[in-house]
């Protein structure tokens, strides 16, 4: 049933919600031996190495077993579902890592501009620098791209938005936070999928310029109909020279 998309990002992202708070029922998986890395972790790490080297189609369970330093039978014992199950676990692991890193950066932000800049830069860096994604985009783009367009992109936007909305809640009300979270995710994905000559979202000063030029004014405009126009979150002066990212924190 999942034939077409066993390793698709959307599924992984959506499943993240389910995985959270449901510890493994399998005692073999959960057992921690002193001084040894659990087999489950070795298999996932090995699979990531294989995927970064040879992609999804060419990676076999034998490759994964070899990279993990165990037998094929052991891989099957931990992942009875075989390759699909291993790939699913890889997606879960990497999506969790991605969102954890995002949470750390966004959680440390001190103002609205900062939380947007930190979140967008971290997201762009996390995706652009991911060795498996880089290999896939180069050699098997269909695996990644088909999960990032049309209705499936809407799902990715929704999950990312659900995760990042609370981090904006310190500065924006619930409805605004949701809108802005989706918008920011949209911007990052757009520049990642369609690289621009002039804009590199892994570069903090460039993200800050984009946020100051286009995002913060959009947020202020959103707030006008709700009668909160007076509560501008960053000084208007920060707009006058958007290319020098020096005024933040104490400026607002």
């Amino acid at each position: 049933m999942r034939q077409l998309e066993p390793y698709c990002l959307t599924v992984g992202v959506a499943r993240l919600e389910l995985v959270r708070g449901t510890p493994s029922a399998n005692p073999v998986e959960g057992r921690l031996a002193v001084g040894a890395t659990p087999v489950r972790v070795r298999v996932i790490d090995g699979a990531i190495d294989c995927l970064a080297r040879q992609g999804v189609a060419k990676t076999t369970l034998d490759d994964v077993a070899r990279a993990a330093g165990c037998s094929r039978a052991t891989v099957y014992r931990v992942f009875p579902g075989g390759k699909d199950a291993v790939l699913g676990a890889v997606v879960d692991t990497e999506v969790s890592r991605f969102f954890s890193a995002l949470a750390v950066r966004m959680g440390a932000a001190t103002d609205l501009e900062d939380v947007l800049v930190a979140g967008m830069t971290e997201a762009a860096t996390g995706v652009a620098g991911h060795r498996v994604l880089r290999y896939l985009l180069e050699h098997e783009p269909e695996v990644v791209l088909s999960t990032l367009a049309f209705a499936r992109m809407d799902e990715v936007l929704a999950v990312t938005c659900a995760f990042t909305t609370p981090f904006l809640g310190r500065w924006l009300d619930q409805a605004e936070s949701k809108r802005v979270a989706e918008w920011a995710a949209r911007i990052v994905l757009s520049y990642l999928l369609c690289p621009s000559d002039g804009v590199d979202l892994t570069d903090t000063p460039q993200v800050r310029r984009l946020v100051r030029l286009f995002v913060l004014p959009g947020i202020r405009a959103l707030q006008v109909p709700h009668g909160v126009a007076a509560q501008v979150h960053t000084k208007p002066s920060s707009r006058s020279n958007p290319s020098t990212p020096t005024t933040k924190g104490e400026a607002s």
Binding site: F150, M153, Y191, L213
Partner: protein, 193 residues
């Protein structure tokens, strides 16, 4: 009178609509067009792959020609964006062949569309520049950077609107005045509608 190339494209499109992208062969296209395989190969030496890519490009272009016709008479930047978003979204939803392909073979179609769409960013940006010029820009905003930003956002909203309902004129007006234009051109008056 349409040339053989156009006739082959139309025939291929008819086959794709019936059988999908992966199952359509040069043979099918030739039969549908009433031409020989050799003639098809003369126009598309790359065979099946080239033919399928050409059909996707052609349909993509057709979509944007219609979009252009819909918006090019608009009187203001806001009107261009509002009419464009509504029309484009509606056209995509009503495009039966597109919707069917997205359902049955997204892994074939989407990478091709991504390539086409990335090429289109520049076209849309170029179309918007005169409107931006006429409207005037917010302080510190460079016109080409704004046009590029708008173009990619438009493509994004058209294909994946997220929580926005592009069938609702009020929402579209809000979207245009906030996420699209607020930073680009500065203060805008309230929507007239």
């Amino acid at each position: 009178m349409e040339g053989p190339r156009q006739r082959i494209l139309e025939a291929t499109y008819a086959c794709v609509a019936r059988w999908g992208l992966s199952k359509t062969t040069v043979e099918d296209a030739a039969r549908e067009a009433g031409l020989s395989r050799a003639t098809v190969y003369r126009y598309f030496p790359g065979g099946r792959d080239e033919l399928i890519d050409a059909v996707v490009s052609w349909q993509f272009l057709l979509f944007f020609v219609r979009l252009y016709e819909e918006v090019h008479g608009a009187g203001s930047l806001e009107e261009v964006l509002e009419r464009g978003l509504v029309f484009a979204r509606q056209s995509l939803l009503e495009h039966e062949v597109l919707q069917k392909m997205l359902e049955i073979e997204p892994e074939v179609l989407v990478p091709k569309l991504t390539v086409e769409s990335n090429r289109t960013v520049g076209l849309i940006a170029g179309f918007l520049v005169p409107y931006l010029h006429e409207h005037g820009m917010a302080e510190g905003v460079e016109i080409h950077e704004a046009a590029d930003f708008l173009a990619r956002m438009i493509l994004s909203y058209i294909s994946s609107p997220g929580h926005w309902d592009l069938g609702d004129p009020e929402q579209v007006a809000t979207l245009v005045r906030t996420e699209l234009l607020a930073g680009v051109v500065g203060e805008l008056g309230p929507a007239v509608s």
